[in-house]
Symmetry: C2
Subunit: 386 residues, 2 copies
C-alpha cells in the first residue's frame, strides 16, 4: 500500500466514523486512539463481540448505523457542495483540538475558503443566550466588530441571539468569523439563519463534526460547545441564564486552560445571572473588545513572522499572491479597492487578507489593510510590487 | 494629677485637635503618636519653632486655628445636642480604625444611642454614585435591606444617590445604619437629607471627625471615605463612574485588607464603569445581600458568645435589660411588640436589639427578633424571663 492509499483509507474511515459515532463519544475516541480509525471502522463494519465496557445494546446501535453508512457517497456529496473533510494530522487541522483528548472530533466538515488552522490561531469565541435582550445583542455586535477590527477571528455557534449578533458584528466590520454548527454544514440551522450562515461560508468558515444532512439534537448542541471552547484562545460569554449552554462552553474553556470572560449586565437581569456566576469564579469581567484583546494577547505576539519562518511569497496560492500584490506599498487599502485591483470579490479578498495576516504579510489599519513592516523587508518576503 | 483628670485632659486635647488639624493629616497623627495629644495641643497653643518637616506657612495656619479653638465650648455645644466625642482607647472606640495608622481620626463625634464599637463589628459599607440611575438606587435599597434583615449594619456616607438609598433600605427593613459625614454631625449635609440623617440618628448612628458646625469640602469627602473603609468589614460599590469617590473608599478598603465588592451593571453605562474597573481587579462581583454575607462571613462566626465571654446579663444597661426581658422565650417578636412591652419607642428597641445581638443575646428572625440558643442557656447568660 502506498502512503497515498493509507491517507485515503484513513480519510474514508474517519468520514465513516463521523457518521457512525456521536460527536464527543470518548469511548469511540479511545478506540480510535488505541486501534486507529481504519481498524475501528473495519470492526464496526465486520462485527464481532462488543469491545470491553460497551453494552450489547449500544454495540447493536453502532452496528446498525455502520451498516447504513456510505462514506464515499458522503464525501462526494460534500465535495459537490464545496465542503471538505479535515482530519487530525492534516495541514489544516487545528492542533489545539487535540487538547480534547479522546473527546477530540473524528474530523471536521469545513465550508469556506480560509485555512481553519491559521484562522483558529487568532480566534476568540463570543457566545451567549439565544433569547438575548437588546442589550445583549448590542454588546455581541460591538464586541465582535471590535475584535474583527483588531484582526481577531470571531467564533460562535450560528444560533439566534448573541451568536448571530456576534457573527453579524464581525461580518459588518469586514472581519473574519467562523460558525461551528451542531449539524451538517450543508444544512444551516436554525433555518432563519440560512442567509447569515451562507454569508459566513462566503466570507469566513462554517464547520461542524456532523456529516452532510445530519440534524442537530439538544445533546449535539451541548457537545458542540467543547469544539468552540477548544478551537479558540478565549471564550467571552454575553448574557446567559443559570444553566445556559454558554456556561458549558465557558467551563469547557476553563478546563482546557483557555481564558474565559464575561460581559456583565444588570444584577436584576436573569439573562445576566449565568454570566455573573462565571464572573464570581475564574472568569474575567470585560466591557469591550480592547479588554478582551488585552487578555488574549497582543496580535503582534501571535503573528508568525515575529517568531519564526513564514511561507515564502512564491509558495503562496496564486490568487492569494494576487491580493498581496494588489496592496500598495505605503498606504492602507480597503477590501473593495483590492477586489477591483485583484479582479475578484470583496469576500474573497477578505478571506485571503486574513490568511495573509496569519502569515504576517498584512495587518488591519482602520477600515483598510496594509503591508506589515516585515512584508516590506525584502530579505524576509521579497519586495512588494508597487 | 488623678487618672480622671488625665482622661479629661486627653479628651479636651483631642477635641481641640479635631478643630485644628484636618482629618487624615498624617503629620498631625505622627505628632500625636510620638508626643501624645495633650503635648501636641500644648505646643500648638504655646507656639515655638515649627516641628521638623513643617513649613513656616503651614505652622502659622495651624497656630491661627489653634488660637480660635474653644474645646470646652465645642464639647458643651455637642453635649447639648446629644453628641458625644469618642476617643481612641474609649470603650466605644472601634479598634479597627487603628488600622489607619497615623491617618487614624483624632476622635469621632457621635450622634445616636447604639454603641459604635459593637455596631461596627458587624458592619458593611454600601457606597456609590450620587447621581445614580434608578437601577443603582434599586440595588442599593434592596441590598441594604437584605443586609439589615440578616443582622448586618449598613454604613454609608449620607449623600444623595446610592448612599441615601442604602440608608433608607436599612431603615425600611427595621435595620441598623450608620452615616459617616464629612462635616459636623450637628450639621446634616446635604441639606436635602436633613430629615433622613435625623432618622438615622434616631434609629442608628451619625458620626464624623469634624467638630460641631464644621462644613464639608471636596477634600473632606475624600478623606472621610477612609473612615468608612476602615470601620467596616467590607465595602460594596454600587454604580461609580471612573474616578468616583466610591472607588477611593474601595481602594482604601483593599489597602486595609477589607473585602471589596461591586454590583455590576450594563457595560454601556458610564455609571458602572468604575465598578467594572474594580471587578477587573481584586473586588468580587455580588448581585444580592446573600452573596455579600457569604463573603464577609456568617453572623454566627462573629457573634462574641461563640468565641468568648460576653457581658453578663446583670451588667447590661437597665433599659437594654428591659428589652431583653421583653423577649418571649420561645418565639420571635417584632420591635413594635417589644416597644410596647418595654414601654419605649420602636427606634430605641431596634438600637438596643442590635446591641444585644452584638453581645450574642438575640438574633433576627424574619421581621422579628428572638433569643439565641446561647441566651436560653442559664449557665451562660442566666435564664430569660418568660
Amino acid at each position: 500500500m502506498t502512503a497515498e492509499h493509507d491517507a485515503d483509507a484513513e480519510l474514508l474511515a474517519r468520514v465513516f466514523l463521523s457518521r457512525v459515532v456521536e460527536p464527543g463519544d470518548e469511548v469511540g475516541g479511545r478506540w480510535v486512539r488505541e486501534l486507529g480509525a481504519v481498524e475501528v471502522a473495519r470492526r464496526l463494519r465486520v462485527g464481532g463481540p462488543p469491545p470491553h465496557g460497551v453494552s450489547d445494546k449500544r454495540w447493536a446501535g453502532l452496528r446498525a448505523r455502520a451498516a447504513r453508512a456510505e462514506p464515499e457517497r458522503d464525501l462526494a456529496l460534500a465535495r459537490s457542495a464545496d465542503v471538505r473533510f479535515v482530519c487530525p494530522g492534516d495541514t489544516e487541522w487545528p492542533a489545539q483540538l487535540d487538547d480534547l483528548g479522546d473527546a477530540r472530533p473524528t474530523g471536521l466538515w469545513v465550508r469556506g475558503r480560509p485555512s481553519l488552522r491559521t484562522w483558529a490561531l487568532t480566534s476568540v469565541a463570543v457566545v451567549g443566550a439565544r433569547a438575548c435582550t437588546e442589550y445583549g445583542a448590542h454588546m455581541a455586535t460591538t464586541l465582535a466588530a471590535g475584535l474583527a477590527e483588531r484582526g481577531w477571528v470571531v467564533v460562535s455557534g450560528g444560533a439566534y441571539g448573541v451568536d448571530g449578533a456576534a457573527h453579524r458584528g464581525a461580518l459588518g466590520a469586514g472581519g473574519a468569523t467562523v460558525a461551528v454548527l451542531a449539524c451538517g454544514v450543508d444544512r444551516p440551522y436554525p433555518p432563519g439563519h440560512t442567509e447569515l450562515i451562507g454569508r459566513i461560508a462566503g466570507q469566513g468558515l462554517v464547520i461542524g463534526e456532523l456529516p452532510p444532512g445530519d440534524h442537530p439534537t439538544p445533546s449535539r448542541f451541548i457537545v458542540r460547545n467543547r469544539v468552540i471552547a477548544a478551537l479558540t484562545r478565549a471564550t467571552v460569554v454575553i448574557e446567559a441564564a443559570h444553566r445556559s449552554g454558554s456556561l458549558v462552553t465557558a467551563r469547557a474553556a476553563q478546563r482546557l486552560g483557555r481564558h474565559t470572560m464575561g460581559v456583565p449586565g444588570p444584577a436584576t437581569s436573569a439573562l445576566s445571572a449565568g454570566v455573573h456566576e462565571l464572573l464570581r469564579g475564574e472568569a474575567t469581567l470585560v466591557t469591550d473588545a480592547a479588554e478582551v484583546v488585552e487578555l488574549v494577547g497582543d496580535m503582534g505576539e501571535l503573528a508568525p513572522p515575529r517568531r519564526g519562518p513564514v511561507l515564502p511569497r512564491d509558495l503562496l496560492e496564486p490568487d492569494t499572491a494576487d491580493v498581496l500584490s494588489a496592496l500598495p506599498a505605503h498606504r492602507a487599502a480597503t477590501p473593495a479597492e483590492l477586489a477591483r485591483a485583484a479582479r475578484t470579490t470583496e469576500d474573497d479578498v477578505i478571506a485571503r487578507l486574513y490568511e495573509l495576516r496569519s502569515l504576517g504579510y498584512v495587518e488591519r489599519h482602520g477600515d483598510g489593510w496594509k503591508l506589515t513592516r516585515e512584508a516590506m523587508t525584502p530579505a524576509r518576503f521579497g519586495p512588494p510590487r508597487c
